[in-house]
């Protein structure tokens, strides 16, 4: 592990007790984020990507049980921390941006109070310093007349502005890691690119690690240094953005890419590729490949046993029984068809 590593997670699992049994929301997930690096976690609803972020933040619901072999932030072991000690890290070393900017800010307090509060809570300075920091950051996120905005209430701002406030708020204490959970999903398309641009330039400037969680392959392709594709609570493919998009090795990744119409690439009016079948409910004992019911390349071997991640090169891995050769041949033929 290099000294650049901000977050390291090994074999993280999250089990949630539900009436029907135990829900394995996340299984054996490992990841690593470096300073200034963007890791995109991509997957469809219910794949466990948001639970992963809450697990790292230690904000899981009460009924969820977290297990992991390793969970460190800037070389600090998070697994042994008490809730009180963990709280001192949140907002200070890790910041989080949520999906819906309309509901993520407290409606009864001024924006300024909500920004300054983090700074003061973590002992960075007094009211005056906090105000200066807030004004500085508001300017950085491109807000004109920051002093005025700070004395406003959330309902007086548009969605795009509120999301910028959220970004500013996470940067108040200069965090080592930012987790953004679908930060632009609730925004208009024209706001999306601007907000992402802002997020990325600030992340680079502050040299923070960024975990960006999204279902939008377009966002992933444009934002990610490295990508982790999740399906059914597991990582099914990891690699750099180029590797994953140009040469997907897991049938699910390939399927996802084929599903979306791309201007200039898919023929208008043509049939889109599609993934049949349903997402498994992750309750009870899970055995074999979770994607087998929707996969064109399924064999008997896929139905049982523990299917592990196969590593192709450093940081490049996939969870499938097809050999890299096979997957290359089969998937690329299909992609071309």
């Amino acid at each position: 592990m290099s000294s650049n590593t901000v977050l390291e997670v090994e074999n993280l699992s999250v089990d949630i007790t539900v009436p029907a049994g135990t829900l394995h929301a996340v299984s054996n997930l490992s990841l690593q984020v470096d300073k200034g690096e963007t890791l995109c976690i991509v997957g469809e609803s219910g794949c466990g990507k948001s639970i992963t972020s809450l697990a790292i933040m230690n904000l899981l619901p009460r009924k969820a049980i977290l297990t992991a072999d390793k969970l460190t932030l800037e070389n600090r072991d998070l697994l042994t921390l008490s809730e009180t000690d963990f709280a001192t890290l949140r907002g200070d070393r890790i910041g989080m941006i949520f999906q819906d900017p309309m509901t993520s800010l407290n409606p009864v307090f001024r924006i300024g109070d909500q920004l300054e509060e983090v700074y003061i809570q973590h002992g960075k300075g007094g009211r005056k310093e906090a105000r200066e920091r807030a004004e500085f950051l508001l300017e950085r996120v491109g807000i004109v007349a920051p002093t005025e905005r700070l004395s406003q209430y959330p309902h007086q701002l548009s969605g795009g502005l509120r999301q910028r406030m959220m970004i500013a708020m996470t940067l108040m204490c200069d965090p080592a890691l930012i987790i953004a959970d679908e930060p632009t999903t609730a925004l208009d398309v024209t706001m999306q690119a601007q907000t992402l641009n802002l997020l990325r330039s600030l992340q680079k400037e502050f040299n923070a690690g960024l975990i960006l969680i999204t279902h939008d392959l377009g966002v992933v392709a444009r934002m990610a240094d490295r990508v982790m594709v999740m399906y059914a609570g597991r990582a099914v493919e990891t690699g750099t953005a180029e590797e994953v998009f140009d040469m997907p090795t897991h049938p699910y990744t390939q399927g996802l890419i084929d599903c979306i119409p791309v201007p200039g690439r898919t023929e208008p009016g043509s049939k889109l590729g599609s993934i049949p079948g349903i997402v498994p409910a992750l309750v009870g004992d899970l055995d074999g490949c979770m994607f087998r019911n929707r996969c064109d390349h399924v064999s008997d071997a896929c139905r049982s046993g523990d299917i592990t991640l196969t590593e192709i090169s450093a940081g490049r891995a996939y969870r499938c029984l097809l050999s890299p050769e096979e997957s290359k041949n089969k998937l690329s033929v299909e992609g071309a068809a």
């Binding site: 049949p276 079948g277 349903i278 997402v279 498994p280 409910a281 309750v283 087998r292 019911n293």
Partner: protein, 307 residues
């Protein structure tokens, strides 16, 4: 539909990972079976109901029969004077207290049930109309609700009873007038939430009449709430009826209303506390079990559909 159309049988085979999701009725049945409060509350309510219905058969005496030689006989567990002739003792006029309590259940349940039902119909109609139509109609209905809330209900009820008398029909109507607003407030706000759903717009786009939309699309989704409020309001109606009778402005003597029993027993309560405890506890247990049932219904019918 043209014949040449390709039939799609995309999802006809059952997926290996498909698990049976119960339908809303099944879900409710399941939740009902495992809801302790609902079962206990429901059983006690059923017990009271059975006592009320079969009072003429079950009661050992005529509740109006006076026996002045056997006045104020204590219950059977009073070692000195209790007898099995009158297991719950007798009142100041020697009437069998158990029989009077059993017939009292009739009055409480009848008034409670009908008051809750009448006000449910009136209040829900008002609420759904306000919630669905919005605008001026809704403003008017909000104004009606505000007027109702502003009036001191119990006082108005007392004055009305003193004018119209304490017949059971009058009591039911007066109590209904007291309770319609809760239904209106709740159904109105629930209807407002339902109205914005696309299935309502879809029905409108079909040219469905407003009445049909309210009855066919809105009502099934408000019904849970109406039943929950109805159960709670029935409990309150029972208490208020007892209160009116206790104050002497409800059911008139010698009818064995529980409230009346309490008020009659009050003069003797320092020496014969059972005279107030029996009717008091009867009201308490009936009301608490109805409440438990109502809370149970609320949990059982908790909105499903959205995950």
């Amino acid at each position: 539909m043209p014949d040449a159309i390709q039939r799609r049988d995309l999802e006809d085979q059952v997926d290996e990972f498909e698990i049976a999701v119960p339908s809303p009725p099944e879900l409710m049945k399941r939740r009902a079976k495992s809801h302790r409060g609902f079962i206990i509350g429901g059983s006690v309510v059923l017990f009271f109901l059975a006592v009320a219905v079969f009072a003429p058969v079950l009661a050992p005496y005529d509740p109006y029969d006076q026996d002045l030689t056997n006045r104020l006989v204590p219950p059977v567990w009073d070692a000195a004077k209790g007898t099995w002739d009158h297991p719950f003792g007798t009142d100041a006029l020697g009437r069998d207290y158990l029989s009077r309590l059993m017939f009292g259940a009739q009055i409480s349940l009848m008034i409670g049930f009908f008051a809750a039902a009448v006000s449910a119909v009136v209040g829900s109609c008002i609420g759904m109309i306000g919630g669905y139509f919005g605008g001026r109609v809704d403003n008017f209905i909000m104004y009606l609700i505000n007027v109702k809330l502003a009036l001191p209900g119990l006082l108005v009820a007392l004055s009305l009873v003193s004018v119209f008398g304490g017949s059971i029909l009058a009591l039911i109507l007066i109590l209904s007038f007291l309770f319609w607003d809760r239904y209106a407030v709740v159904t109105r706000s629930v209807t407002q939430q339902i109205r914005v759903n696309d299935y309502i717009t879809a029905a409108q786009a079909l040219g469905t009449s407003r009445t049909r939309i309210i009855i066919g699309e809105v009502l099934p989704n408000v019904m849970n709430q109406i039943i929950v409020i109805a159960s709670l309001e029935m409990a309150v109606a029972i208490i208020v009826e007892a209160a009116l009778s206790f104050l002497g402005l409800g059911v008139q003597p010698p009818t064995p209303s529980w409230g009346l029993l309490l008020s009659e027993g009050r003069s003797y309560m320092f020496f014969m506390p059972y005279l107030i405890n029996f009717p008091g506890l009867a009201i308490f247990f009936l009301v608490i079990s109805i409440n438990m049932m109502g809370d149970g219904i609320r949990d059982i019918t908790a909105p499903e559909g959205r995950n």
